[in-house]
């Protein structure tokens, strides 16, 4: 990602260190992940130790320090979904994609994450693929749904 774009985002937040999370979120929504060079640049421009930025980028689960696949799969593991069988949905996805939560497959097709509650509890079990919420999933429906992604 070009330094110009990064600087633009930092300036949008007036270069304030208190907006660190917002800056990183904005950068990530453009770039889908946070390369180390980005963290270094932000550290320099905001005059904040790189250790603090590194801690923030790893503490908060919205950030990724590695490139993501084309399709981002989030399985909701909230209590309501759990009670309705979310674990079996996760097992099905892991089986079908060959990766575990937190990983991206070698073809960079799928990135799998678990999420602690998307707030669509009435539709549990729920999964979110590329921002689209899919509800009332079952192992069979899940396997079918995954096949539709290129």
């Amino acid at each position: 990602m070009e330094s110009e774009k990064i600087d633009q985002i930092i300036d949008k937040h007036h270069g304030e260190a208190s907006s660190l999370l917002q800056i990183l979120l904005d950068i990530q929504s453009e770039n889908s992940w946070l390369p180390k060079e980005v963290l270094v640049r932000v550290s320099q421009k905001l005059d904040v130790p790189l250790t603090r930025i590194q801690h923030i980028a790893t503490f908060y689960k919205a950030f990724s320090l590695v490139p993501k696949g084309r399709h981002k799969v989030h399985i909701c593991m909230g209590t309501a979904c759990h009670v309705r069988g979310a674990t079996r949905i996760l097992d099905t996805v892991e089986e079908a994609t060959g990766i575990k939560a937190g990983e991206t497959d070698l073809d960079m097709k799928f990135s799998l994450e678990t999420v602690n509650c998307l707030g669509c509890c009435a539709l549990g079990p729920v999964m979110n693929v590329d921002g689209k919420v899919l509800g009332k999933m079952s192992p069979v429906k899940t396997a079918e749904a995954l096949k539709t992604y290129e």
Binding site: S18, S19, L20, L21, F59, T79, V83, A122, K132, G135
Partner: protein
């Protein structure tokens, strides 16, 4: 759009809006909350707009994408005004019929109405549906009536009149007094009296103060705040401005979790519109009161729902809580007096100012005034958001409103209060919801999550689940939480895998005491609650797992085996074909047998076996019966 510079201008504008709207013209409200959108509401809205244009009805029939009315199980939800006809699970294909029958011919489309599962009776109006009948939707009622992106809709239902009243007819101490008198207690979980919190900040000597909306709704299973943030953002904003006025704070923050992108969008929209109208910014409605609002997104950390961690996160740091020996309403954000309240708490404020503290205290119990929104989810017939007066019993909520347990299953427990709460068994269902009752039973009301569990839920697994959630979300700073939960998780996982040992329960109890007494923040201090409450009411399940390697609920994967009952198997081949591990041996008319060595306990066979056969059984703590001899496996016609 000209700024509204005085309360009179606001009123005149409101009247002008109302005069332009004909209440007799049909208005079709379609829920556009995240849940219904996931069920296809966007297609339904598009279909309505297309059909209305096609039929030339655009001048007389309106459509709105509205906020969440809470009946999420049956979405997409459509309510047609002025008759309040409520249609459920509406699809785009249903739209032409609705326009033809209901809009043009004034007839009801029977198949889209709610049908009572017991009496078979159909309900036409939203208020007739048993899910809604016993509710008192003081805060949520407006969601289905307004387009959440239209400030005009909010003004048309009386929006910002409370702010106008506070700024022009009341002094700031009077506003504070009214909130104190109302006995409004925080809806985020701790239940601290809001008025007292506000007063502490107001009286603090430091002149710069803040008011903050905690919109980091993290309790899994709870989505009350999502519905309010997406559906009626102005109601929260109005409450926040009034709060700022009451404590002399000129700056407010929304901290919204980024897992709610629609909420973030709608809040930002609302702020922009309010600024355009002069209801936010400098010299609001000529009162001399300045107020500005900044929106921060969370970044995926449950612990940031804790007030001191939230404030630390607002400062651009990792969300590590601070000791609460000095309260954050005195030293909070940037070490300045900060009033942090939950979304639902703020949403109640305009109602209290408009209708008065006496109105608010007329509902509820002695110690818990007003209504509370709960998210009723899990193994329950009517899943969704319910708003009831404090003091209603759990039994009424689960059975009268929730419609009981589906599938003929037996109720086992209701989990309240999220990861800080506990499980309440059947014999305690007559407890009243409120801030104090549920705590005596070992749980708490919390932010409103209410997860119903049935006979198929393993309570040991529930404890393990919550501890796992918290090991994931713990900030990791203090030993009792980080290390204590780490060990508790190990022990509970072992128990669910049949590797529990004598002494495990005592070890878990010792770790619980350490976490409760010595943790840095409320996350750690309340983390043992799900374990302690399930141990209190379901000790027999723990003992079965440890002593007999048996899961009574037939849930724990390592302790169950799937078995095809030969007396019921009709050899239809459906399970054999669906099994992802090819573990089922059988053929047409040849009774199927599961190869236990290949079986991964995925449960697909149970899911696909036709209900009229019901041949798949789960076993636990007993040996799997040996396979039928080959010669007995052929199904012959019964004579």
């Amino acid at each position: 759009m000209a700024r509204l510079n005085t309360p009179e201008e606001l009123e005149n504008f409101r009247q002008a809006l109302l005069s332009q709207r004909n209440p007799d013209n049909p208005c079709i409200s379609i829920c556009a909350g995240a849940g219904c959108v996931a069920s296809g509401a966007d297609d339904v809205i598009a279909a309505f707009n297309k059909e209305i244009e096609k039929e030339g009805l655009t001048t007389t029939v309106g459509t709105k994408g509205t906020g969440c009315p809470g009946f999420c199980e049956r979405g997409p939800v459509v309510v047609i005004y002025p008759e309040e006809i409520c249609y459920l699970q509406v699809k785009a294909e249903d739209v032409p019929e609705i326009i033809e029958q209901t809009i043009k011919a004034n007839k009801v489309v029977e198949r889209l109405l709610y049908e009572d599962p017991v009496t078979g009776e159909k309900a036409v109006k939203e208020s007739d549906i048993s899910f809604y009948k016993s509710q008192e939707r003081t805060v949520l009622c407006n969601n289905i009536k307004i387009d959440s992106r239209s400030i005009d809709d909010y003004l048309a239902i009386g929006g910002y009149s409370a702010l106008a009243k506070a700024l022009s007819e009341m002094t700031d101490p009077e506003v504070l007094e009214e909130v104190k008198k109302s006995n409004l207690r925080g809806r985020g979980g701790a239940g601290f009296p809001a008025g007292r919190k506000w007063e502490g900040s107001r009286n603090a000597p430091e002149p710069i103060k803040y008011v903050i909306v905690n919109a980091d709704e993290g309790d899994p299973g709870a989505f009350m705040d999502r519905a309010l943030l997406e559906g009626n953002p102005h109601s929260i904003l109005e409450g926040l401005i009034i709060g700022g006025y009451a404590i002399n704070a000129n700056e407010g923050y929304f901290y919204v979790r980024q897992e709610y992108p629609l909420a973030v969008e709608n809040i930002n929209f609302a702020i922009e519109q309010a600024e355009d109208y002069g209801l936010l910014g400098k010299n609001i409605m000529g009162s001399g009161f300045d107020f500005k609002v900044i929106v921060h997104q969370g970044a995926g950390a449950f612990v940031c729902g804790e007030s001191t961690a939230l404030m630390t996160s607002l400062e651009g740091k990792v969300g590590e809580p601070r000791p609460k020996y000095t309260r954050s309403n005195i030293k909070g954000l940037w070490n300045r007096p900060s009033v942090l309240n939950n979304v639902e708490t703020w949403a109640n404020v305009p109602l209290i100012i408009n209708k008065g503290a006496d109105w608010f205290t007329s509902v509820g119990t002695e110690s818990s005034k007003g209504t509370k929104i709960f998210s009723l989810v899990g193994k329950i017939t009517n899943t969704g958001l319910v708003e009831v007066p404090m003091g209603m019993t759990l039994r009424d909520i689960i059975y009268k409103i929730g419609g009981g347990i589906p599938g003929g299953k037996k109720f086992k427990a209701v989990q309240t209060g999220g990861p800080s709460g506990g499980c309440i068994p059947e014999d305690k269902l007559d407890l009243e919801v409120g801030f104090d009752e549920l705590t005596k039973a070992g749980s708490m009301m919390g932010s409103g999550g209410m997860i119903v569990m049935d006979e198929d839920t393993c309570m040991v697994d529930v404890a393990r689940y919550f501890i796992e959630f918290l090991t994931d979300e713990s900030c990791g700073k203090c030993v009792p939480c980080r290390e204590g939960l780490r060990q508790m998780h190990r022990i509970l996982t072992n128990i669910t895998r049949g590797k529990g040992k004598e002494g495990d329960i005592e070890l878990l109890e010792a770790l619980s005491e350490t976490a409760v007494e010595a943790s840095l923040c409320a996350l750690g201090k309340s983390a043992p609650n799900p374990f302690l409450s399930t141990l209190r009411y379901f000790r027999d399940e723990y003992e079965a797992h440890i002593k007999a390697q048996r899961c009574p609920a037939l849930y724990c994967k390592e302790l169950i085996a799937y078995f095809i009952d030969p007396s019921k198997c009709q050899a239809c081949m459906i399970c054999a074909r669906s099994c992802p591990s090819e573990a089922i041996d059988g053929g047409k008319k040849k009774i199927h047998i599961i190869d236990q060595k290949k079986c991964t306990n995925c449960g697909t066979c149970l899911e696909v076996c036709p209900p009229r056969f019901g041949a798949i059984k789960k076993l636990s703590g007993e040996p799997v019966p040996g396979p039928l001899p080959e010669e007995e496996r052929m199904i012959t016609k019964k004579s």
